[in-house]
């Protein structure tokens, strides 16, 4: 497996390959544009960043907060560096300022403004922020980590690709979930993470946490 650590501007490969995210070409050579790990699979080269903000991408499911209402659209904060827009034709019932929604990103335009679709209002619950680069670890392969968290904490959980996790459940369960998420974020590079999380969620002491 290819997994070299590269810094911005470092040579990734001199071979001709298809470009994935976070690489750029200069004079026929491929360089990394960020601090991350090189992945080469099926002729595609990409760099998986270790740090950074969420960059909106079409078809991502995100969790957001309604910030304002305009004449024909709502403005929704999706933890990116710009707000996103939800046209009112997408919804039947009016939204309230401050309510939490989950949505799919329909389109991102050239100045990174986001249009949302498939909106779903999430009643109650709260948002737990995590690092956007850690989202794949919270979901796990085939959503296995997510399933584990859902069963273990008996919470309803929606993980947004933007690094916001919506959760609803009893207070002590939410507290447990927060601890589990913190652990995943902090120790996502260590082995036996699942076992630790499983142990943590199933232990009797968990209620006292």
């Amino acid at each position: 497996m290819n997994s070299r650590l590269v810094i911005p501007g470092e040579l990734v490969t001199e071979k001709r390959m298809k470009l994935g995210p976070h690489v750029f070409v200069e004079k026929g050579k491929i360089y990394s544009d960020t601090l991350g790990l090189v992945k080469m699979e099926r002729g595609v080269v990409r760099v998986v960043p270790l740090q950074g903000k969420y960059m909106p991408k079409a078809n991502d499911v995100v969790v957001g907060i309604v910030v304002a209402e305009e004449y024909s659209f709502y403005i929704i904060d999706i933890n990116s560096f710009y707000y996103s827009f939800l046209p009112k034709e997408e919804i039947k019932l009016p939204l309230k300022k401050g309510s939490i929604v989950s949505a799919k990103i329909a389109r991102v335009n050239e100045i990174n403004e986001v249009s949302l679709s498939n909106i779903r209002v999430l009643h109650g619950g709260e948002i737990i922020p995590i690092a956007p680069t850690r989202v794949p670890r919270v979901i796990g392969k085939n959503a296995s980590m997510l399933k584990l968290l859902q069963h273990g904490t008996k919470c309803a959980i929606i993980v947004g690709m933007n690094g916001w996790v919506w959760a609803k459940g009893r207070e002590e369960n939410i507290r447990l979930l927060k601890k589990a998420l913190q652990k995943i974020e902090r120790e996502s590079h260590l082995s036996n993470l699942t076992l630790k999380i499983q142990k943590m969620l199933s232990s009797k002491e968990a209620d006292k946490v």
Partner: protein
């Protein structure tokens, strides 16, 4: 005396840098940060953004703004420095910001601003280079896409010798020349070049060669600092991912049963 044997006031050779130490991610509030010790110079760099540029009229729909703020602490110089940003600090902020703007992919983040704050705590000549070096490490630490890091280093002349990285005593020599230089090491593109004093064309060429060499040395230190911070993390992550994924699958299965 030949250049090889010549020793400077602090015992360095003509082309020797002061010891440099860089530590990335030292501030948890900032999205990216770095601490640098360059000889006696000490500085902290913090990076925020990209974030929405406010007030709205400063936004540029074609690129991100780079807001570089260089400040010296009141206690960073022998006599107390007024905390009010002076002409010198404003100028350094401007030129350093423009230097970093060359390296960052600003066109990917329209209507936003990238804020970089660098504070100098202790100084002994060459602080703008130390600040720029730390800032570019902090940008990489924040995960901001860049064409290359920016490595900076000063070069000058004192007592008739071309010297790399002059210290304060050398800068105050009667024939002193001080030339801060910053490059993008991969292409050796110059992004910052200033000069104080008078120098002949031949000497300038020699000084520039010295400066390039110094910047490349600084680049190696930046690279090592970043890799050292993230390598251990990355190595274990690779090993763990496969093992963890398998455990996850098993755990999820057992839960479903």
């Amino acid at each position: 005396m030949a250049d090889e044997e010549y020793r400077r006031v602090d015992g360095r050779k003509v082309d020797e840098l002061r010891p440099i130490k860089i530590i990335p991610s030292v501030l948890s509030r900032a999205e990216g940060s770095a601490y640098i010790e360059w000889g006696q110079n000490k500085a902290l760099a913090a990076v925020f953004g990209p974030r929405e540029a406010l007030p709205q009229h400063i936004q540029n729909p074609t690129k991100a703004l780079v807001n570089y703020v260089y400040r010296m602490a009141t206690f960073s110089v022998p006599d107390r420095k007024s905390p009010k940003p002076g002409r010198r600090e404003i100028e350094i902020s401007k030129v350093s910001g423009e230097a970093l703007e060359k390296a960052i992919f600003v066109e990917r983040f329209p209507n936003t601003t990238i804020d970089i704050y660098v504070h100098i705590f202790d100084s002994n000549a060459g602080t703008r280079c130390a600040a720029l070096t730390a800032a570019s490490v902090a940008l990489a630490d924040a995960g901001i896409p860049m064409r290359d890091l920016v490595a900076a280093c000063a070069v000058g002349r004192a007592n008739g010798k071309i010297i790399l990285d002059p210290c304060k005593d050398e800068e105050d020599a009667s024939d002193a020349v001080d030339m801060p230089l910053a490059i993008m090491p991969r292409t050796k593109e110059v992004v910052l070049l200033q000069m104080d004093g008078l120098i002949s064309k031949e000497d300038w060429k020699k000084a520039f060669e010295f400066g390039l060499k110094g910047c490349l040395e600084v680049y190696e230190i930046q690279k090592r600092a970043l890799k050292h911070r993230y390598e251990a993390l990355a190595r274990t992550e690779q090993k763990a991912i496969k093992a963890v994924d398998k455990q996850l699958m098993d755990a999820a299965e057992s839960l479903e049963r």
